[in-house]
Symmetry: C2
Subunit: 356 residues, 2 copies
Amino acid sequence: MEQKLIFTNAVGNALDNLVDALDAASVTIITDTNTLRLVLPLLQADSRTAASARIITIKSDDINKNLDGLKHVWTGLAEGDVTRKSLIINLGGGVVTDLGGFAAATFKRGIPYINIPTTLLGAVDASVGGKTAINFNGLKNQLGTFTEALASVISTVYLNTLPRQEILSGYAEMLKHGLLDDTDTFASLLKYNPIYPDFESESLLPLLRKSVSVKSRIVEADPLEKGPRKALNLGHTAGHAIEAFAMKHGKPIPHGYAVAHGLVIELVLSHIRLGFPAETLRQLAAYILENYGAFDIRCDDYDELISYMRADKKNSTPDEINFTLLHAIGKPQTDCTAAPGQIGAAIDIYRDLTGL
Amino acid sequence: MEQKLIFTNAVGNALDNLVDALDAASVTIITDTNTLRLVLPLLQADSRTAASARIITIKSDDINKNLDGLKHVWTGLAEGDVTRKSLIINLGGGVVTDLGGFAAATFKRGIPYINIPTTLLGAVDASVGGKTAINFNGLKNQLGTFTEALASVISTVYLNTLPRQEILSGYAEMLKHGLLDDTDTFASLLKYNPIYPDFESESLLPLLRKSVSVKSRIVEADPLEKGPRKALNLGHTAGHAIEAFAMKHGKPIPHGYAVAHGLVIELVLSHIRLGFPAETLRQLAAYILENYGAFDIRCDDYDELISYMRADKKNSTPDEINFTLLHAIGKPQTDCTAAPGQIGAAIDIYRDLTGL
C-alpha cells in the first residue's frame, strides 16, 4: 500500500478530511509529553477529530522509545477498545512515529494509522517510508516492522515550537536528499537559510515537499531495504561513527549534526573513489561549516572513529566498511567498501576543508 | 510472498535442503520445553541444520504465549547476533509458531522464518497463513502481525508424541476445512479414524495435505482477513462460546473439541437459515458424538452461551451475533447474523442430535 503524503499548513482541515473519508470507528492520538503541551492544543483548536480523540501519551526523548513505552501504548489501545476499524494518529517527532507506528502495526495484527510529524527530522525522515521501531537491549531500532502509514500530513506550522538545533538536525537529512536528487534541488537547499524566522513562513514547505518526495521515490522502489533504498544511508556510516564518538567522549551532538559532518567525509571519499566533483564538495563543506560548525577530530581519534564504522550493522563482515557513495549529485553507488587508509585520507581532507 | 508448503515425513532432509538453498548466515531454533525434550532430539538426529542450530526455549502452554515469552525470544535473538541474513525455525505447536513468528516478524524489522509444526492443530492451522500472535491484557492473540513463513514443513512423524485428545483437537479443524472444500474431502475425513495407531502411519499425511491446501487457498485469496478469509471462522462463534463456558464452569475442554461441537451447532443454524442438507448434518453430528462425545448443555445455560457469542470480537456491534454459515459443503456465507431465538433453536437440535 502506498503512503499518501499531504503537504499543507492547514493540518487540522487535512486531518478532518482524511478521517471523514475513512469513517473510522474511533480515533486515538499517540503523542509525547512535550508535543502534548506545545502542539496538541494547536491541533485540537483546528480539528474536531483531534478535539474528540482519545489521547495516549508517552515520554519524550529517544531513551523512552523502548519496550516499556510500547507496552504502555498497547495497554492504552486495549483499554480504549481499539479495533481494526479504528484509526491511530501519531502526533510528534521520530520517537512517536516510530513507536506509535510499531504499536499500530502490531495491535490486533494491524490498525490503520496516520502520521503528523511535528519536527523537521520527523517530517523529512521518520514519518515517511514505513519503518516502525523501538530500541531494545541497548541497540537502536532493534525491533520493528515495515508498515506504512495510511497518510502522513506534513507541514512547517509546528516547527517554531522547536529549538534551532532541531531544525538544523532535520535540515541535514534534507541536504542528503538533495544530494541524492539533482543539482537544482541541491542548489536551492544551499541557498536557503534554515534559521528563525525564515522557516516559520511558507518558504520551507516547498523545499520539504521536494525532499520528502525524494525519499518517498527511493522507498517505493525498495520498501524492504533489499538494495536501492540503501542510497538513503549516504552520510550515515561516517555520521553514526561521529555520533557514537561524541557520545562516548561525553559531548553528544544531535543526529543531524553528525550526519552533516558524515556527508562531508563521505563526499570526500566519493571524490577519491568515484570522482565526485570537487567544486560541489567544497560548496557543501562551506555550508556545513557555516551552519553546523566543524567537528573536532584529532589524529589520535582516527582509529576509534574507524572502529565505530567497522561495527556498523550495515557491514556484512567486520573487515569491510560499507558506504553509500556518489559518482555525482543524483548518482549514488551503494555497497561501496573502503579501506581504513582511504577513510583516514578522507578525514584528513575533511579537517582541511573545515579549517581544523 | 507465498508460503511454501512441504508435506513430508522426511523432515530433517527437507529442512537441510531448504536451509542449503537459503544460504543463511546462522540458524536459530525456537521451541518449547516439551518439544525440546520429545521432538528436538529426533529432528537433530535427522538434520545437520538442527544439530548445529542455536536453541531458544520458551515455556509450553498457551498461558505462556505472552509478552514475557516474546521478550525472552527477542533477547535470545539479540544475544545470538541474529541478522536479516539469518534464519529462524519455529519447532512446536501453535504457541511456538505464533510467538516465534511474531518475534521473527519484528526482530530487526523481519527475519525470515520456517515453521515445523509438531502438533496436528499446528500443522493444519497455526503454522499456515501468516498469523503471528501473543496474548495480551487478558485477551487471546491481541498482538501480532500478518507475516508468512518462508515455508512450513508439515509431517505426521511427530504426532505420536501427542496424547489422543490433541490429535482429535486438530482433527476438528480438518473437519472444518473439509466442510469448506467439497463432498469428497469431507467424506474421506468421516471415513478416517484419527486414533492410534492409524495416524502414526503415512495414511494421515494425504488428508493433512488436502486440509492444509484448503486453508492455504482461502488465506491466499485474502491474506489480511478483509472478507473471504472469514470462512475459516466456521464453527468458531459457537465453538469459542462453548470453550469459554466450559472454562468458566471449571471443566475446560480442548479448543478443537469446542470447535467440533460448534461445527454441529453452526451446521444446524446453516440448515435453518440457508437450507444446509439435513443428511450431511446428521453424518457430522454422529461422527462428532462418537469421537468427541456430547457437550452437556442444559436449558438454563442458553443465555450464558449466547452472551459469550455476543462478546465475540468478530461482531461489529454487541446486538448482532456474527457467524460464518454454509449453504452446502464448499459454499460458505460469511457475515451471517442470527437472533438469540434462532441460536436457541439450533442448540435444541444439537441436544437432540447428540441424545442429550
